[in-house]
């Protein structure tokens, strides 16, 4: 298998130069994950313009510097760092250069290890009340510095929430309480990181916000905690306002979409109804929707899945609606390279 360019040519126009205040959806299903596509967005925004120039040169591309804030609810920083490295992106270095910020929505979202949780007075009832004794400090892992050990080294420094617990991670999100207040807290955390990034931005610089699976937030809270599709959707709107362009990844598995879409709405669980309402509602707002799915005919040796790019229902602020809709196959190689090609081509 020949190695592939980090950004498949067919994809280039869809993942780079996203229009101002646009919303792009990446939808995935079980068996056709969206991680590779998110990495392509990262690469399009963060890579040095000329592949021959050594990576990390400070040459701005077209005078526009791009920054990325990645909020991930399903994947650890370590995962993104490793996978981005395969594309030639050094996320840790980019984070040092204030070009990239990672917000960890996995490690401590619903259950914070006691040592790093917020002070007891703020700690919500039932969500891991802090222990009275300090836990034993974990010795470093087998290969220190390689494996992510969110067991922070600064264990004793409690209450100092703003401390960067780990290199590369700008913020760890923690969900507490219920309803809008809890979403507001998350929004504040993310906005503060975005503002921090923006503080070093000049006019014309663009900030790309990528939120990986915000639908998890909805699924794991739900109407019984006062959070529904409308609330999550408004939460996204608020975050969108501070970013140049926003990319969301969402799950569109059949049980999550179709149970509620069919006429038999009575049978759908609130989880399914809210999820479908969120995803379809967002598709109505999006400028483009990139849909990933597995091959209709079953698995194949040289095809990982199908990518369909469609225009969403969103109002285009710019008059030129030049997004060409298309459907292509993609194949993820073992080395992480991705080939995107039309049907019948190889």
């Amino acid at each position: 298998m020949p190695s592939q360019p980090p950004l498949p040519p067919l994809l280039a126009s869809y993942v780079s130069n996203l229009p101002d205040s646009s919303l792009t959806l990446v939808s995935s299903i079980l068996g056709a994950t969206s991680n590779w596509l998110v990495l392509r967005f990262l690469h399009a925004a963060l890579s040095a313009p000329n592949p021959n120039v050594a990576f990390g040169s400070d040459e701005p591309q077209n005078g526009i510097k791009k920054k990325v804030v990645l909020v991930s609810f399903m994947r650890s920083y370590e995962f993104w760092r490793t996978e981005a490295k395969r594309l030639g992106l050094d996320l840790a270095r980019l984070a040092d250069k204030q070009q990239f910020a990672f917000i960890d929505g996995l490690s401590e979202l619903f259950y914070a290890p006691q040592a790093t949780s917020t002070p007891p007075s703020i700690s919500p009832a039932g969500l891991g009340s802090p222990r009275t004794t300090l836990p034993m400090r974990s010795p470093p892992g087998a290969v220190p510095g390689r494996s992510p050990q969110p067991v922070p080294t600064a264990r004793g420094v409690r209450g100092n929430v703003t401390t960067k617990a780990e290199p590369g991670i700008a913020k760890k999100l923690q969900f507490s309480g219920r309803g809008l207040a809890s979403l507001d807290a998350l929004e504040k955390d993310i906005s503060s990181v975005i503002e921090q990034q923006k503080s070093s931005m000049e006019d014309g610089d663009e900030l790309l916000l990528i939120i990986d699976q915000p639908d998890l937030l909805l699924a794991a809270t739900g109407p019984s905690m006062g959070i529904g599709a409308t609330e999550i959707s408004e939460w996204i709107t608020a975050l969108q306002q501070s970013a140049h362009a926003t990319v969301l990844t969402l799950a569109t598995d059949a049980p999550l979409i179709q149970n509620a879409s069919t006429s038999d709405v009575k049978m759908a669980t609130p989880l399914e109804t809210e999820h479908a309402a969120l995803v379809i509602g967002l598709a109505h707002r999006a400028q483009s929707v990139m849909q990933l799915r597995t091959l209709d005919t079953g698995a194949a040796k040289d095809v990982s899945g199908v990518l369909r790019i469609s225009r969403g229902g969103g109002l285009n602020t710019s008059e030129k609606e030049n997004l060409e809709e298309r459907e292509a196959l993609y194949f993820i190689q073992r080395d992480g390279g991705v080939r995107v090609f039309g049907r019948g081509e190889s």
Partner: protein, 347 residues
């Protein structure tokens, strides 16, 4: 349909849609636009805004999902974290300065999506959709008489949440009941594909979410096989007149790139008048007689026809009265083996 009938329908219904889209004579105070992912309402809303600009109507966008104020919108009301009452207040507030200057007596209020409001967890159970819409349309300050047209978009494919009160009608029923016009949008290429299938007595194809294929949200692709250059959106209009008589008509709105923003004339056409939807019948006068076509030449050349006419058929002469047969009589000579009985038989 008789041509007279069609032309009457054409004049009549085109005038109606023109009135509705240009907000003349407050033909429809509450228009409900039902859209789907397969045909979003954005092109239609843009058309509303374009026409409003041409006739200097004040445009307010109540944004439940729009992020930034689009071109041509005079007032942009963000609804984030606002209760329905606050929204109503703000909608009326943004018009106050305009009303004072008295420059415009007409006003268009667009709601880009009513679904978030209906699905919101924050809205208290006492929220009444009809009074909410009513208070938007009816001006709070009755001093200045203004004509308000409200256009509400509802995404049909966003699932409705279960009702809090199982006995009250669902919000969509309320909306369709209240609306004076209901516009349902379809993608032209899908309408064509479905018509083509129906013409062949096949099951009409479905698109997008209706495909029920895992991972598919949108089925719309630019080049849908077999529909050619189908652009534009199909408007299915149901208009309730004051008299109570309903009008049902299908129209076609061409894409915005086909005409200039200042285009004054009506650009909407009847769907039935579209060449792609209703291809004109092939009426070739030279091929008037309906001969079955086949790979064999069944006709005759002129020479063949002449020669055919020249052929004298056998016994042709016998049919003349003066011929040997005297007009076709049978001549028979009796033989001895014939048992001829003069009393019974006759020649």
């Amino acid at each position: 349909m008789a041509p007279i009938n069609l032309s009457h329908r054409r004049t009549h219904n085109l005038l109606l849609i023109s009135k509705l889209l240009s907000l003349r004579d407050t033909a429809s105070p509450l228009t409900l636009v039902l859209d789907s992912l397969e045909q979003p309402a954005t092109p239609l809303l843009k058309e509303y805004i374009r026409r409003a600009k041409l006739s200097k109507v004040h445009v307010t966008l109540v944004a439940f999902e729009t992020l930034k104020q689009p071109d041509g919108v005079d007032a942009f009301v963000s609804t984030r974290r606002k209760s329905p009452a606050d929204i109503v207040k703000e909608v009326s507030a943004v018009y106050q300065p305009v009303a004072a200057s008295n420059s415009s007596r007409r006003r268009l209020i667009l709601i880009d999506s009513i679904n978030p409001l209906l699905n919101s967890k924050r809205v208290d159970p006492g929220f009444d959709l009809s009074s909410f819409l009513g208070s938007i349309i009816a001006p709070t300050s009755p001093s200045a008489k203004i004509d308000v047209s409200l256009v509400v978009t509802h995404h049909q494919d966003v699932p409705e949440l279960p009702q809090q009160s199982p006995y009250s009608p669902s919000p969509i029923s309320v909306l369709t009941y209240l609306a004076t016009s209901i516009i349902t949008l379809h993608s032209f290429s899908h309408v064509l594909a479905q018509k083509a299938a129906r013409d062949r007595s096949l099951a009409p194809p479905v698109f997008g979410l209706e495909e029920e294929q895992e991972g598919i949200l949108l089925g719309r692709l630019d080049r849908l096989a077999g529909t050619g250059q189908a652009e534009g959106i199909v408007i299915e209009l149901e208009h309730r007149r004051k008299s109570g008589r309903g009008v049902l008509e299908w129209y076609l709105l061409p894409p915005a790139s086909r005409y200039s923003p200042q285009h004054p004339k009506e650009i909407v056409t009847l769907l039935d008048d579209n060449v792609l939807y209703n291809p004109p019948m092939e009426r070739d006068p030279s091929a008037g007689d309906e001969e079955p076509t086949s790979t064999f030449e069944l006709g005759l050349t002129d020479r063949q026809r002449r020669e055919r006419e020249g052929v004298v058929l056998p016994y042709f002469d016998a049919q003349h009265n003066d011929g040997p047969g005297e007009g076709g009589r049978i001549l028979y000579d009796m033989g001895e083996e014939d048992d001829f009985d003069e009393e019974e038989d006759e020649i």
